[in-house]
Point group: D2
DNA sequence: TTTT
DNA sequence: TTTT
């Protein structure tokens, strides 16, 4: 009835983007959420990083494609989906992913994702990606697979 | 950084509960979240049910053990955790679960999980379940792995 | 950037529903969320009830109108909105409300809101409301101001 | 039963911090959440900024005091609380606030809150603030009853 | 004003 | 395997 996931974390690699037959765009992101856990017994703090597979469709895929790079900090809202199949050894396999329905870029406008600040992008993307990199990388509120509409709200 | 899941759904089977060496209690729940999806093209409404594996520890496991039965409607808040191992065929396997940090029972006090709708509590559960059934079955706000404490809040 | 409220609670009174000029429907709900707070010092448990003003528009208003009654347990997702005005004494006044973008009814189908099970509804609503009462009162997944659409998703 | 608020936004001013008798620390933040709303009729996009009053206690107040400045981007999780009183004109007054139970700083480590983008920290804050500014300003995951710090995230 |  |  309610199946909701909220993530804030860093992107582990540039998004994988492809277009399905029919032109529908899909993107896939790996997102790390790191937490520190204090063990009262041993008085030690341990760090645990969890990696999440996020799938984005259409507009959200496009936003990811244009603005998200390895190292970007993002907010994701979505829902859980587990796919299953039978592998070559005849075993039932499962993979759980988050299907996004919202995506926001965090940090300030000029934020350099990852090591991109100091260099490294050099020539690795084609013209379009290049230019979107050099254009002002928006901070949040891009996105919205279903842009809100209003007509006569009295406020 | 933020790794949060919120579920509202129905429990597919009585909880599996066990105690680890050391006495720590763990429970496992299967929770179904069903959504209806309207396809504008075909004008059809399709239903999709997603099944979630939820793990509860200590107090939350105890609450699940005592109050949750097949059919119960519950609210779960928790975080995603993916375990991995190598199976007998040498393949890397993954399983994603939700580790609960909050659990509330939904519906009203007298709500019958599952077939209880017809008022057939009388004898319909075994001894143990009986007694937990006949004790005041709380609606919500049981739980709390980390019970809130207050001492001097000025409100 | 993110302004999100999630409530699960009981409705304090039947919804107030009206139609604006132009036919747009609006409903207002009062929702109580009660929590129990344990004070370790005094070893006492105190209960605190918080009352929330929820505004619902269009489809959600219609769902509230038809299915929600005093005592209903509901899930609300929405966002915070504070209105301000100047009162007759010239003071700036503020009122904060939750504008809903999702609404689900909790509990099982046959759940009686409040004391409605044993009586009281009798004749208190007009024909339409009556019939909607006697029609299957949906548990959840009614609603959706923005119904999901799918056309070519590969799952 | 569930009374949950999630905010991501920018802080409008340095936190107001004070200590109650007994030494308990409290901080108050003003947080702006801005959304863009597309009006299909007029094909215009309007921007709306909502301001939230957030109250933080003890550890969270301390974190706010040390690390949050005007312009900081933050994640807040908390619950709604409405206080009421009677004003000098005898009117019942209400004020709604969010009592935080989690706080994370967003953006990367070196992120300059507000006008800091140009590296102009030099002398712009008073002594105490200075030192907290010059200490490693963590990006997120400080905070909370279980303070979390990061310095060497590999991405 | 709801619920437990 | 739940619920509607």
């Amino acid at each position: 009835m309610i199946n909701k996931v909220i993530l804030i974390g860093n992107v582990g690699a540039d998004p994988e983007v492809r277009a399905l037959e029919g032109g529908v765009k899909v993107a896939r992101l790996r997102i790390a959420t790191t937490e520190r856990i204090y063990n009262r017994q041993t008085q030690e703090t341990k760090e645990h990083t969890e990696w999440h597979n996020v799938t984005l469709w259409r507009n959200l895929a496009d936003v990811a494609d244009r603005f998200i790079r390895k190292g970007s900090q993002v907010y994701i809202e979505g829902s859980l989906r587990t796919r299953d199949w039978t592998d070559k050894d005849g075993n039932k396999r499962y993979a759980t992913e988050i299907v996004a329905n919202d995506l926001k870029m965090l940090g300030r406008r000029g934020d350099a994702p990852a090591s991109g600040a100091d260099n490294s992008y050099g020539g690795s993307y084609g013209g379009a990606a290049q230019s979107s990199q050099s254009s002002p990388s928006p901070s949040g509120d891009i996105a919205a697979s279903a842009p809100q509409e209003v007509d006569d709200l009295p406020f």
